[in-house]
């Protein structure tokens, strides 16, 4: 099933630094998801690469929304083609770091409760 490797480009950075594109070569298998590739990088190359996900595969948690080649979608259900992809954080949410953006509802943020206390 495995057929060589595939290259992904990931836009990384934090709000207080210029963003950069990093390139990773990942083993390719037919039908793999964008999240599969990002998780492979986190597990084998660089665990500081930040992305939100919980359910991994079931499209239940709805946390892994990113832009793939400019199109918004869930990393867990976006297929990675053999020519790879450019993976970027959502453009319409505040950037926290790498692929993590601020998708937490305001009332579920720590600081909302610090103010009360």
């Amino acid at each position: 099933m495995s057929a060589g490797s595939v290259t992904i480009r990931v836009r990384r950075g934090a709000p207080d630094e210029p963003s950069r594109i990093e390139t990773f070569t990942v083993p390719y298998s037919e039908g793999m998801s964008v999240l599969d590739a990002v998780m492979w990088v986190r597990g084998h190359v660089d665990s500081t690469l930040a992305i939100r996900y919980a359910c991994i595969n079931a499209n239940a948690c709805k946390e892994c929304m990113v832009r793939v080649d400019g199109k918004t979608g869930y990393a867990c259900t976006s297929r990675l083609g053999a020519d790879g992809a450019l993976i970027e954080p959502l453009g319409n949410k505040a950037l926290i770091r790498d692929l993590v953006t601020d998708i937490v509802p305001p009332k579920e943020r720590l600081d909302a409760h610090l103010e009360e206390g």
Binding site: V45, D46, N57
Partner: protein, 571 residues
């Protein structure tokens, strides 16, 4: 001052945690509901597909004592019968409460629909919709939690340690992921609702959060674990071709309904060779089916990716379409045409029977510390009856919340010196520095492989001893040297490091208990002790000693027999 102060802190916001928060708040307590992912989105509940066992009795006459009898029988002599009785008696109460919150249980002719599931003698498994019960349940509870006065929901807060003084819980410390801020939370009561440990195994149906946090938090706080040698494997998890957007355990109801054939790599039926009739009936117990697939692979008769084939090719297409409904289109998007070729399936870690040892109030031996949901051990013994996981989340969650709330007026045990604990946690986590590159991933992969190969479905003295030794080494020597360098925002490597610390302690507890149980029973199958030993119808209890070593002791099972009541139809 700690950053937060609350009556009840709930760790984990899946089904059990959310129910606990609702119950504690309606008992008048102020609640902090914290999850390292988004509240009500992570964990196992939202991934649950179909059935919820409860003797509601609307579809066919039923009584909770019959549900209890089936639960105890499935548990192979090890159930804590007090907990099992609570689970079965209160499940219909919670199902009706969820109904009043409009979860939308499926109905026919006005009666709550219930279906049969393996191990039940009466159709008692209610559902919302095929493949959608978990999301519906999670959504209903998210709404209740959002509407509950006095519940502070905090997403992205990873709880790493409990604060305990003189055997009494004072609160917890954790890290706010978004900005890396250390957080101390003083609380009169803490409820551990952070789920199980299926992620420890290479093949699993888990979310990223099921790494054994609740067990590690409990052990480190001085509480006990029970039945840790019993992880449940689901026999026919999806293996290949790659399937995205669906839970890997999705095949079961279809196989049951349509009669999918299970074949080895030579396209032969094989369950018969393991003493069970399966072809045409599909009722071989899960533990036997899992064992048979793993043994076929070990004998070189596996499918190409190391499992078995599941074939629906003998079913006419219109029948397939009728049974699978819209699912067949989702399969087509994954390039799967069931009329043309089989899929590959294999056993996957699915649930953990063991867990935190609690009494009827869900209280541990640490004053003020409670547990709920899958994190609790005992109710399911050596093998969980299908459909019992979601009612366990509801029933134990509600009880933990209700009883924990009774402590709301207790003076806090938090001391001013504890204010620095959260900061120290972050410093310790970043201690050695520099392990983030690939070391954390490699360590997790090695742990998952070790657990799968030596602490999974085929267990031996040799394999378990080897695994236990290696896990101890990883926990005490290697992980501390892999502490990551600090990142200010969403420090994902730090989260991995904290998770891995909990996972290694949870893994050690499974390996130790499995090594000490020299017999085969339920989900625990020893190649070198194949028979069940009546003298071992006892539970193993684990605790951490003062020097950080894990100790195991045997305890008598908790018997609380109930006779089956006469069956009556509910109104």
């Amino acid at each position: 001052m700690p950053e937060l102060d609350t009556d009840v802190l709930v760790v984990g916001a899946g089904g059990a945690g959310m129910y606990a928060a609702v119950a504690a708040a309606r008992a008048g307590a102020r609640v902090v509901l914290a999850d390292k992912s988004l509240v009500g989105r992570g964990g196992a509940t939202i991934m649950a597909q179909m059935t919820v066992a409860a003797a509601v009795g609307e579809w066919e006459p039923d009584h909770w004592t019959h549900h209890l009898a089936d639960t105890v029988e499935a548990g192979r002599g090890l159930c804590d019968e007090r907990l099992a009785a609570i689970l079965c008696e209160e499940a219909p109460v919670r199902i009706r409460e969820m109904d009043s919150w409009r979860v939308g249980w499926a109905r026919e002719d006005g009666r709550m629909r219930a279906v049969m599931a393996p191990g039940h003698k009466i159709p008692r498994c209610v559902y919302v919709d095929f493949l959608n019960t978990g999301p519906a349940v999670a959504k209903t509870l998210r709404t209740r939690v959002a509407q509950g006065a006095g519940i502070a929901r905090i997403s992205g807060l990873s709880i790493a340690d409990l604060v305990v003084h003189d055997g009494r819980v004072a609160g917890a410390v954790g890290i706010n992921l978004e900005d890396g801020q250390p957080v101390g939370i003083a609380a009169a009561a803490v409820i551990l609702a952070a789920g199980g440990l299926t992620r420890l195994f290479r093949r699993n149906s888990a979310s990223a959060n099921m790494g054994g946090d609740a067990y590690a938090l409990a052990l480190n706080a001085g509480a006990e674990l029970i039945d840790m040698e019993f992880p449940q494997f689901f026999p026919i998890g999806h293996l290949a071709p790659r399937l995205v957007g669906m839970d890997p355990i999705m095949w079961d109801p279809f196989r049951y309904k349509l009669g999918g054939r299970l074949l080895n790599g030579r396209m032969e039926e094989f369950i018969e060779n393991y003493g069970e009739r399966d072809s045409g009936v599909y009722t071989a117990p899960r533990d036997i089916t899992s064992y048979a697939i793993v043994k076929e692979c070990a004998a070189g008769r596996g499918s190409p990716n190391g499992g078995a084939y599941l074939s629906f090719e003998h079913i006419p297409e219109p029948e397939l379409r009728l049974a699978f409904g819209p699912v067949i289109d989702r399969l087509a998007k994954n390039g799967i045409d069931l009329t043309k070729r089989p899929v590959e399936v294999a056993p996957i870690a699915h649930y953990h029977m063991g867990g935190v040892r609690v009494d009827e109030r869900m209280a541990t031996r640490v004053e003020g510390l409670y547990a709920a949901g899958e994190a609790v051990g005992g109710a399911n013994g050596a093998n969980r009856l299908s459909g019992n996981a979601i009612p366990e989340a509801f029933v134990f969650g509600e009880r933990a919340g209700r009883f924990a709330a009774q402590r709301k007026d207790e003076p806090r045990a938090w001391r001013s010196a504890d204010d620095a604990q959260a900061g120290r946690l972050v410093e310790r986590a970043h201690g050695a520095g520099g392990g983030e590159a690939a070391g954390l991933g490699a360590l997790l992969r090695e742990l998952q492989a070790l657990m799968w190969d030596d602490v999974g479905l085929l267990r031996t003295e040799h394999g378990l001893s080897r695994a236990l030794g290696r896990i101890r080494e990883m926990r005490t020597d290697e992980l501390p040297s892999l502490a990551p360098r600090r990142k200010a925002h969403f420090d994902h490597a730090l989260l991995d490091w904290l998770d891995l610390g909990a996972s290694l302690l949870a893994a050690e507890s499974v390996a130790l208990a499995a090594l000490d149980r020299r017999e085969s029973r339920g989900a625990h199958q020893r190649e070198d002790h194949v028979a069940t030993d009546p003298a071992r119808a006892r539970n193993q209890v684990l605790r951490l000693s003062a020097d950080g070593a894990l100790d195991s002791a045997w305890a008598d099972i908790v018997a609380a027999p109930h006779a089956r009541a006469p069956l009556e139809a509910a109104e």
